[in-house]
Every structure is written in C-alpha cells, then in structure tokens.
Symmetry: D2
Subunit: 325 residues, 4 copies
C-alpha cells in the first residue's frame, strides 16, 4: 500500500515542486499540502504548473502528522520545532532547511544562531545519496542539502576523497528561484535583468555544509552570483591539487554507477538538467597554472532541492531510488 506524504510549506517554490513530484509519484500518495499565507487556496491556483488538486491548509501539528512521511519546506529556524513535533509522532522527515545539515551544533550556532531542536542533530543524515546512500536508507530524519552544496559537493567529492584539495574557490551562478518567492527589491525583474549580482560575499551560509561534506580539511571561498534566469545553477570550482593525478579518471570512476550524475566532456549547461534530478559535471585542467577547474550544474529546485528530497524518500522507504523522477 502507498505510503502517505505531507508537504509542509508548499506555497514556496521548493515545496510546490516537491508536491508536484509526489502527486504524480507512482508509489507515494500526497496527502496534505500546507502553507501559512495562502491557506484555503488551491495549490494549483498559486502554482498552476503543479496541477495538484489539493487545497493549501494551515498547518495542524496533529492532523498533518497522520502520514508516513513529511517534506518540510520551511525556512531555517522555523523548521526545527516542526520537525521535532513530526518526529515525536513517528513521522519520517525530509527537511529542506539548513537546520539539521551541520553535525556540529557550534557551527550551526555560529552561522544561524540558536538551534530549535538540538537533540535531533545527531540523528539526522545529510541527504546527498551519492555520498550517504546507505545511511539515508535507514534514516528517520534526512537533512536535504542546500542547492549550492549539492552541486559543489558533487563537483569536488572525487578530489576530496583523494586528499587532492589544495585550495578551493567556488564561484556559483544561480537563477532567481533560488532566492525564494517572497517579493523584494532584489528579486524585482528590473533589478535582476541585464546584470549579474554577487551576494553574501565571503559569508554565505552554505559554506560550512560544503566544508563538512568535503571532509573538513579545506576552507573554501564560496561566492554566489544571481544571474538573470529563473531556474538552474552552475558552480565553477577552481582547485590547486596537492599533487599530480589522473583527475578525469577519478570522476569517471566516482560516478560510473550513479544514475543521476553525468560526467561530460564540455562545460555542462543548465538546460540539459532543467526539471530533472541530474547533476552534470565536467573536469578541465588549466595547464598553465596547474589548476583543476570543475563545473557542475543542476536545477536548483530539483536535484538542488525537491527531486533530491524524493530521491531520499525513495531510499528511506525501500523504493527504487529513481522512482517517479
């Protein structure tokens, strides 16, 4: 019988994609969609593309815990107590926020402030299946990675494993959906159009996740840029390797059996992964400087968030990892 799933925070971009994917999933049954500001409105009225025939409901901790699993699409800070409530009622959770991604509570507090459910931090599994597939299978709480970390970690993990990361500069380019649905001056069409905007220079909160998952041995410079497009993300990674290595072979080995990572020749394009769970990666040597340059691209709302959440749910419930994707 189908497991039931609720999506909490389904009026945002990520929640809406998660709801759409679960609605058409051959196994899971989308039971509830909730939202604060748009409660009472059909999800399909807010996000017509989803064509999900459910009405957004105000979150009710009891009613909406009557499911097998929940995808929580809340901002960090707001997510932790809701996740704790769901876990206490036995609901398995994929949390899209940052609240359970960092293993070290101190690191979380340094970057985000005090934590709303510190007792659960130890239980959470970092939900990047390519790195933690087996733990995800057994997880009750999966901390779904941020969109930038998904691309950056997949881009750099083969080098990290071999201890090849001498230094790392990550220059990331993201579509505007990555900044969320709330209207602001910075997301006004006129502000974004015909320009590129670096932001949170030297202090983006995705940095510690990336460092954690690369093994903690290297400090990365991570600079995101907003580019004039809606969906998609490209990370350009510059690495001084600690020694000579057949880097290309490392990548092909690392990802040969991964269904959702494609190692390609030329630099990958966002349209190639648009509305898919794929991450596309290319690896290049800069002969003159000895640096390695790695590009990785994903759809920030799919592999960067919500299709990866479904990939994790599939693993957590013993389904084929790619079901419904």
């Amino acid at each position: 019988m189908a497991e039931t799933v609720a999506v909490l925070g389904a009026a945002g971009y990520a929640g809406a994609v998660a709801a759409a994917l679960l609605h058409r999933h051959p196994h899971f049954e989308l039971a509830f969609v909730t939202a604060r500001s748009d409660a009472g409105v059909p999800l399909a009225a807010v996000h017509p593309r989803t064509r999900v025939p459910l009405v957004l409901e105000e979150y009710d901790a009891d009613r909406h815990a009557d499911v097998d699993a929940a995808v929580v699409a809340y901002p960090h800070g707001a997510a932790a107590p809701v996740v704790a409530g769901l876990r206490s009622r036995g609901v398995r959770v994929v949390d899209l926020s940052a609240d359970f991604r960092l293993h070290e509570l101190a690191t979380y507090e340094e970057w985000y402030g005090s934590h709303g459910a510190p007792a659960l931090v130890g239980e959470a599994v970092y939900g990047l299946p390519e790195l933690h597939r087996e733990e995800v299978r057994d997880a009750r709480l999966v901390a779904n990675p941020g969109c930038y970390p998904t691309a950056a970690i997949l881009a750099l993990a083969p080098l990290a494993r071999e201890g090849l990361l001498g230094d790392v500069v990550i220059d990331a380019k993201s579509g505007v959906s990555g900044a969320g649905r709330e209207p602001t001056h910075g997301k006004h069409f006129v502000s974004v159009d015909e320009t590129v905007t670096p932001y949170k220079v030297g202090r983006h909160r995705h940095t510690p996740e990336i460092e954690q998952e690369l093994g903690g041995a290297v400090r990365v410079t991570f600079t995101p840029h907003l580019v004039p497009l809606s969906y998609g993300e490209l990370v350009s990674c510059y690495v001084t390797p600690t020694r000579e290595a057949d880097v290309r072979a490392l990548y092909e080995d690392a990802y040969a059996r991964e269904p959702w990572v494609e190692v390609v020749e030329g630099p990958p394009g966002m349209q190639e992964v648009r509305e898919t769970n794929f991450c596309r990666i290319s690896v290049h040597g800069d002969e003159r400087t000895g640096r390695v340059i790695v590009f990785a691209t994903i759809d920030n709302l799919w592999k960067g968030t919500s299709s990866q959440a479904v990939q994790n749910l599939n693993l957590m419930f013993g389904r084929d990892e790619s079901e419904g994707l």
Copy 2:
C-alpha cells in the same frame, strides 16, 4: 579645427559604438565608416541606435587614409596589415584588435599565430589610460585593451603594484555582444537564454594581456562565462595576497583621481555602468580564508572597447580625456 577620424569595420558592435561616439563628439569629426559585408548601406540601417547619417563604404586604403586618425575595428590578424598601411600614411591609429597589445612577439605568436606587422609591435602603446596615460598622449599607435583585460587589470592593478598577487583566479561573466555580431549556434537566443556557459576554459586569448599588464609575475586562471544578457561584463577576482595589507586603502588611493574608475562599497552592477566609460570596483576580504575578492564591472562595448578608444583619442590629440564621453 576638428581632427577627422575614420572608423574601419563599423558594421560590428564595437565599430558602431565608436562611430556613434565620434559622430556626436564635440571636437572630432567622423569622416568615414567602412565595412565589408554591408558596404553601401547606411550605418543607421544596420545599427539604428547610432543615428549616424553616413553610408558604410568598402575600405579603400588611400581614400580612407585621408584622416587624422582611425579606429580599426577588425578581427586580430586582419587588423595588422591595415594598421600598417594607415601608419605608413601618417594616420594615428587606435586598434581595437589584439594585434598590438602584447609586447613580446613570441607571446603573440603562441596565442594568435604569425603577426602581420611585427615591425610596429614596439611602437604600440597599451591603451589603458589608467595605467599608461602619459605614453598614450605621445602614441601614434594605441592598442586598445580587450574587454576582459580592461576590467581585470583595473581590478587587480593596485594589488599588482604592491606585489600582493600571490595567486589569481578570474571568473568572468559577459553579455553576448562581447562575442560579436556574426550569427552562430552559440549566440542563438535559445542557446543563451536561461543558462550560463563557460567557454575557452584554460585558454582564452585575453590571458596573456592580463598577465603582461599585471607585471608578468603571476600566472592567472581566467575563465569567461557567457550569461543571458546583451551588454556588460563582471569579473570576480580571487587573490591570495602575499602579505597583510590595507587593501581597501590601496584601491582608494589608486583611483581617487581617476575620472572613470569608481570604487564602491557593495558589489557593482552592470546597469550602473551601462553605456558609460565607467569601471566600478569593489573590494572584499574573505576572513575565513584570507583571500581578497575584487569585483569590477564595465560595459564591454564602452569602457571595454569603444568609449575607451575615444578616451585614448582624446589623450592622443591633447583634448580633455573625458570629452564626448
């Protein structure tokens, strides 16, 4: 009396902007505009925005040398012999191509192939007024910088002068006009829209110019990316400094008296310099890694090419550097 100027290759984007600027210049007189493919057509028919009431002519080495100066907007290789012809007739030249930018002939040959007028290489002045103002005043042949080098060199020169460039990664983002007007698959709207495309990874020909003008002591990794917009360029520069320094003060000192360089607090935006001769720069420290991050933005067809050509012409003919800009 007004000096007369010809623009050769005025059907391209850069030539057209140069022609428009010279047409409305209070001192210079735009005498001729030439083009191969569109000869016989009014420039304003090909580039309506210019509103230049001249007809594009097929280039005639004698007729079009009857001017005081010429702006040559030809591809590299094609430019050198035409420049040589103009110089032999006493015409002062601002060459927009790469043919005379590199002081070392061997470096030119390594990146571009054989040179069409090697005897003139020694005479050419690299036309970045902020670095070479006095030489430009006396120059007969100015090699106008490439668009990426203009931004990158202005972004890094204050560090270079102090010997602070430990290593350099330049991640550049450019609008499509920088790739020229000839239609190709890569410039088709559908290819560019909603994606970001790295190109010429590890081997872009602007690299040696940048290294030359930064003093030759550092090898840079330079990676350009095509972004879905028409005009403008942003370079994001990552530097490991060789020692501690008050970097912000260095930039303010370096550019305090420069009319066309603005050092600003936050990351600069392309719209702030659109259709101007300004370069806007911001400097940031990444405390966690010790890196310095510098952003610089220009309009690739203005400060990146054609308004800088006019700035150079002004200097060459003893005019106010900013006249007509």
Copy 3:
C-alpha cells in the same frame, strides 16, 4: 507489439522534441532519427536535453521506410516528396510542415508556391484532435497544424461554430524557438533581447490555415511578434461578435471533455503549459466596445508541434490519446 516510428529531421527543435517524446513513450518504439547537417552525431550531442541514445542518420528512403509510422520535421516544400515516398511504402505519416494543411491547392500555391505532391492533398487530415478527432483516427497522413494556428483555432473555434466571428484580429507573441534553429541575425541573442519584434506583418503563412479551420467565413488579421523568451506562445484574439451570446458558457461547453484544453479565469501564462500538451484559454468581454477578447497559450514545440504529433499518432494507432504525454 510496439509500433516503430522514425523521426525525420530530428536535429531541429521540433524533431528533437518529437524524438524525445517517442523515445520515452510507453508504447511506440523510436526506431530512427535522421538529419542532414548533423548525420553521424548522436542526437543527445546536438540536443542533450533529449537524452535519446540514437545517432542521427542521413535519410535513406528505403531503410527509414521500414517503420510503421514517421514524423516528418522538414521545411515546407522539402516535406512533400519525402511524405509521398513514405506513403507509397505504406508508412503512416504525421507531417509537421505546412505541405498538407491546406485543402485547396490554389491556396497553397498562392502562399507557398508549387506543391511537391498534390495528389496527396485530398487524403490528408488536419491534425487538430479537438476539431478532427474521428478523421485523425482513420488517417494515413496527418498534417500537423502550425503552432500559431493551434492556439488561434482553439481560441476561436467555439465562436466560429456559432457564427459569432464578426471580425478577427490576432496579435500573437512567440518565443524564439518558433523561428527555428538555424542561426540568423534576427535570432542572435542581442537582436531579440530587450525588445519585441513584429514580423511578416499582414502576410504570415499561417493565416490561411487559421481561416480554413474557422470555417472560411472570416478574414483574419494575424500579426506575430517575436518576444525575448525561448519557448511558448500567446495569442491575443480580438473579436467583434455578430450578436449577443453567453460566450463563457460556449467555451466551457466546447472544452469540458477535452483532456488537453483548460479554460481558466484569468489570462493564462506560458509557464503553466511549458513542456506539456495543454492549451490554456481565457475569455473576456470588453464591455465598453462589445468586443470579446480571447487569450490562448501553448508551448510552441509541444502542443504547438511535437506533443500534438504524438497525440495524433496515439489516435492513428488506436492508443489512448494521452499516452506518453
């Protein structure tokens, strides 16, 4: 057993989408993909998003007729003889070109010139299932509608049927993929970006199709505009009705049982139908003038071309009309 299908002309945008849809279709088997210019190259190298693991082949009239059906994605004029060849070998055809859309040969010749296979004109069925479902089921040759006519006819058919079309102005807005993949000045990113371009004013070849399918009683003014986006099409139709009528009810009745037409309240958006077979329509009265305003939007490469071709194939082979869509 699965019927086999070939896609001829699969290197273009429409052919590539048709191939991708047929490749993942649960019933049909994509047997061949052909192309002139890219023969020998994997389709996935030209159009990575398709992920079709077939190599583009040079068209061979015998080898590629060894299928049950073919989708022909050739320009008008080039299509007719190839379609004739396929038909003579018993292959059922969905032709994406204009060659078999017009019932009157004289009309074809007036707008397109001489016809390459006039004997087949009488046999062809106009492949808009919402108007001609039963004929499509029995057809051997389906003339798939143009993208503009698909939207315009669906927008106006409920009024046409009732004789309500007093006059008709259609102002259409299309993404650039509608203009094809061949690079031209007009499709250069810089030409399209930040502007709207009317084209073929008063003489677009889709006009006679629209008039034919609206019953031939009204002459329409049809003006397409290129807008700065890649995929999608909106037609804004202005009608002076011949008499009072409950127009909204007409539309709801007309499309209540249509799986792929959605009548909505507010003006429909292109993102709501992106990469789907849906046409979304809204109907509005302009009380001050008595005019009726109808908007219809489709994805020009899906319902406007290739998913409609699959819809037609499903009907032709007795499958569920929506299979694989």
Copy 4:
C-alpha cells in the same frame, strides 16, 4: 540665469530618470529631490545609474516650493493635492500622474474615484508636445501623458485627424519598469521571465486618455501585456479605416517636422529608442482585410514619461524643445 526645478517622488523609476535628465541639463538646475521611503539616502545610492549627487529629502511643502518648477512623480490621487499646493505658491508643474490628464471630471471620477483638486483640471494642458505644443508653451500646469497613451496617440493621431478611425484595437507590450518599483509577486523575476502576461483586460485606466486625445469619436479596445524586459514599450494598433486613403503619406506629413518622431519602413524596435526621447512609428496595410496596422515604440521612462517631462519644461520656459535631451 538657470531656473530651478524640484523632482518630487524621485525614488521611483520615473522620478529618478527625471532627476538624472535635469541634473545634466545645460540650463535647468536640479534643486531638490524628495522621496517618502528613502528620505535621507543619496539618490545615487538608490539609483546608481543617475549619478545625481543629491540626498533624497522628505517633502516639505514650503521648502520645496522655493523653485521655479517641479516635476511631480507621485501616484494618481496623491499627486493632486501636492500639485495644488505648488500651484498656489506659483510653482509651474509637470505632473506625471493621471490626475490632470482628463478634461472631464466625470470621466476621471469614473476611472479613478474622487479628485483631489478639481479646480485645477481646467487649467491643465495635456503634455504631448506633438499635439499641443503651443498650449504647453503657455501652460502653468502640464499633465504629462501616460506611457501607453504617448505611444498610442502618436501612432493614431494622423488617422484620427482625418476621421479615418473606423475601429481601433491596441495591443500593447511593456517592459516591467512600467509597472513601478514596488516589489510584488507579479514583478518578481520568476513571474515575468519566459512568459507574456496580459493585464487589466478591458479596463486599463489609460484608455480614456487615449480616446480623449483621438478626438473622442472612437472607443478603443486597449490591452496591455507585460513582457520579459525592463525598459521599452511597443503598441500594435489595428484600425479599420472609414475610407481609402494614402495612409503612409499622412504619417510622413504629420511628422516631417517633428524632432522626436521618426516614421520608418519596417517595424520599429525598442532598442532603437532606448534612453531617448524618440518615438518610432511604422505604418502597414493588411491588403487582405483592408486594415491599417501601426506600430509605435518608445522608452516608457523617457518619451513615455520623464524625457517628455523635460521636453515640456523646455517649452514652458521658452527653451529649445530638445535642450538636454
């Protein structure tokens, strides 16, 4: 001696452009810039492109009336009382709002609600110099036209004058800056990108202005569409003429001596008028239907608003109409 001018509401897009134009105007002196929300902030911090070195001030009815003229860039309703205050202190006003554009108070009230300064309605001159140049010269209060009416009226006036407007459909396409600077869901980049959105169908408030200035004899259907670009506007006008006429000659006669209207052959493009005071117009016949199709394009913030305000100020103070433009 230079006349002084204040711009009230300079933090919006239109006010900022007006301030920038007046700041660099060779004659007028920009004395004050005011804004509600950003008071205390330099205008150049909110709109860097202006490079205006003035600080936005909270509006003070006395202090800011110490000027020769004011440009009022307030929303309708809010403008009227401020304009009345300025007029009572003898300040000449160009009002960018709709408050004084309609001669009939009843029409204003029907479309906008009650009027804040009805006594001044009779005094105001509709500030389209091409139609009302002489009245503008003597005006003390100029009601600057809306952006859509500027383009639509210039597109249709030559036909209106000759009584040729049998019926009129205006399908307008506008960049997002026309919708103002306040962030909303509808102006979020993701909402606008890759789609076209009709809005205020059958009830846009610019309709009565257009009808008034076309002589009041025809009711127009006017439908604006938001297109994914920042600046610029195109109106596509469809007219059934009341009789045969040499329409092209009408336009050439009408605009032969107008410095800021260009009649061109092919459909005009927004980039051709970007950041200029030009309106570009083309006229086409649709032979099959007998309709006349007229396209007109302007920069919505320049000829559509703020450069036209400067054009009006020039006339009001006896300057050359084109000074500073």
